[in-house]
Amino acid sequence: MMDKWTFGFTMLIVGMGGTIATLILFSLVMAGLKKVFPYKKGEDE
């Protein structure tokens, strides 16, 4: 079993890093989708 600091820093770096990276990816993908499917004035009516 790994020591607690190895566990903790792995969770911090990989866990937080993974979360940030995933959300950056989400923001890029959604920005791309907005370009592919642009808002058309009046589509909400």
């Binding site: 969770m11 959300l23 989400f26 959604m30 920005a31 808002y39």
Partner: protein, 379 residues
Amino acid sequence: MADAMLGGLWGLVAGVAAFHWSNAVMMIVGGVLLYLGIKKGFEPLLLVPIGFGCILVNIPLAGLMDKGGFLRTIYDFGVITELFPLFIFIGIGAMTDFGPVLENPYTFLLGAAGQFGIFLTLLLALALGFPYLDAVTIGIIGACDGPTVIYVASQYAPHLLGPVSVAAYSYMSLVPVLQPPIMKMLTSKKEREVVMKTGQKTVSKMTKLLFPIVITIIGGLIAPHGLPLLATIMLGNFMKESGAVARLTKTSENELANIVTLLLAICIGATMSGPTFVQPTTIIILALGLLAICLDTVCGVLFGKILYVVTRGKINPLIGAAGISAFPMSARVVQREGQKYNKRSFLLMHAMGANAGGQVGSVMAAAVMLSVLKGMGII
């Protein structure tokens, strides 16, 4: 005859005889939760059944949480199986409008920054000697999201379900008290007064419809172990945005959410039995939970300051505080604080974006955590 009479009488006093001082303490705690819920309006939908469940489970010999007891039956059905938090997430997804975060996708990053408290608190819990999965469960209080906390706790540290749930829900309702001093401390007057422009609508219906599917697939591929959390909130949102299943959407955000909230909350209360809850570790857990949410706010605001610098003053750092999952309360706190420093500043829609980003961020943080744990062989 005398024996029978004595036996019968004993049956009536046994409950009182078995009453422990810790049961009395927990009944008072239950009463406090009821007071906070009813009189102060702090998350009453949760604190009222939690408080009542807490009082019930501290009446000795009733067997409510014994095998076959009515609360145990509900607990085994919905909490141990993780069904209850997932059902609630369907309702939350059906109630949430992710439009503001889609208008400004950079607010996803604020949602990420708002999750730092989870991992920092995890480290601190480890330093204090908590076992790995207990430390993970304590850290997840920083997700500021009840169903996520319950999902993780019920699976990996069910003995902590009571304190972490009470901590998560209580501190969420204290966000209007906890966040403003931190926001003021970390920002300058000039930063607080920034007026952010409100842009035109830029999100099409198709984008809103594709959002939950895209997020589910990408998020699920990256963090498959957390897919149930992600998928259920996105299912609820997809039903809402499709407009094709209005009855299901309405049921999800009303009847389903309400029924499951009642059953889940009473089960959480039922885990708060005196002998198990009244421990020194409970106080430490409550303190760590508070720290987690404060650290989330600190990191969110600091990231907001980075964006302020990068955008040369276009972004008000206060919106960073909304990058937590206390939706929509945190956004309203940011709006109120922004108005306090500059009457011309209307931060609500930007803060709602950060808040919705925080909702996605907290779910992703939990999903990533679970997948990392799986990868390390811990679970």
